[in-house]
Amino acid sequence: MQITAASEGPDFSGSNSFFSEYNVDLTTLISKKALKADNIKSVKLSKASIQSLEGAEVDFSQFSSASLQVVADNAPMTSIAILNPILENTSGAIALTVSEEAELTDVFKESSFTFLLDLDFKEDNYDDAMSISLNLELLVEYN
């Protein structure tokens, strides 16, 4: 799945949050079967990467680290992927290290939840807004 996370800006030196509200649609989660919440046995993140949106290049060398979490009304905030440090001269899709333990099962049983990407800015950035693409691969176990 590909989603867009945005920060309103300006972003000051240190950790700043990019948000993406995700409306859960189990009918499109996997192509073979229209799932219901009760069908889901387990959801885990298997791959995660960040990259610029087409036509809106972001210089990733301005960040020192990245941390991705999920937040939901009825489930605890969970860290699902990180990258520290982000190397200089990085371009294209930047792969994050995925948590081996984090479970996404509960958040996918909600009607919606939020992806929260924290990017650690090396310096102040006074741009009004910034958007970044999140590419996520999920492992879904279902009945």
Partner: protein, 165 residues
Amino acid sequence: MNYLLNTIKNIMNTLKAVLFLLVFSFSSIMSFAQEDGDKLIGVWEPSHGKAKVKIEKIGSKYYGKIVWLREPNDPETGQPKVDRNNPDESMRTNPIKGYRILKDFVYTGDNEWSEGTIYDPENGNTYSSTIKMKDDNTLDIRGFIGVSALGRTDVWKRLQMPKKK
């Protein structure tokens, strides 16, 4: 007949007015409750003075992340401190500065926030937690395992910004 119709109309109008007042009062109470909960937002300093924690609201819940460390670098590596005690080994390179140690607090009224957790990066343990605001600038933050009676309370102070001259 007309008298009966007028009486029914009057009763209906009175009921509408009462319903409007009830809905208005309920919305006002909800709005005040949300505003009361937002008193927690700000930068706070635990009693040990080794960190400053910024509490913010995400969705309907409150979270606190470390925004300042007295010793930002690990004395062993000379590099910025990372979450090396995290029980999830794959997450141990996460920087401590910027880490959310307070998570998922819900305002329950009467200057109390509950249902949250507090993480201690020094040992990698996560505790159930409640927050009680004693006054506008003082928090009692209680961490516990299981029942609240078996825990420890720390006093946090709101960061006072120096006044501009």
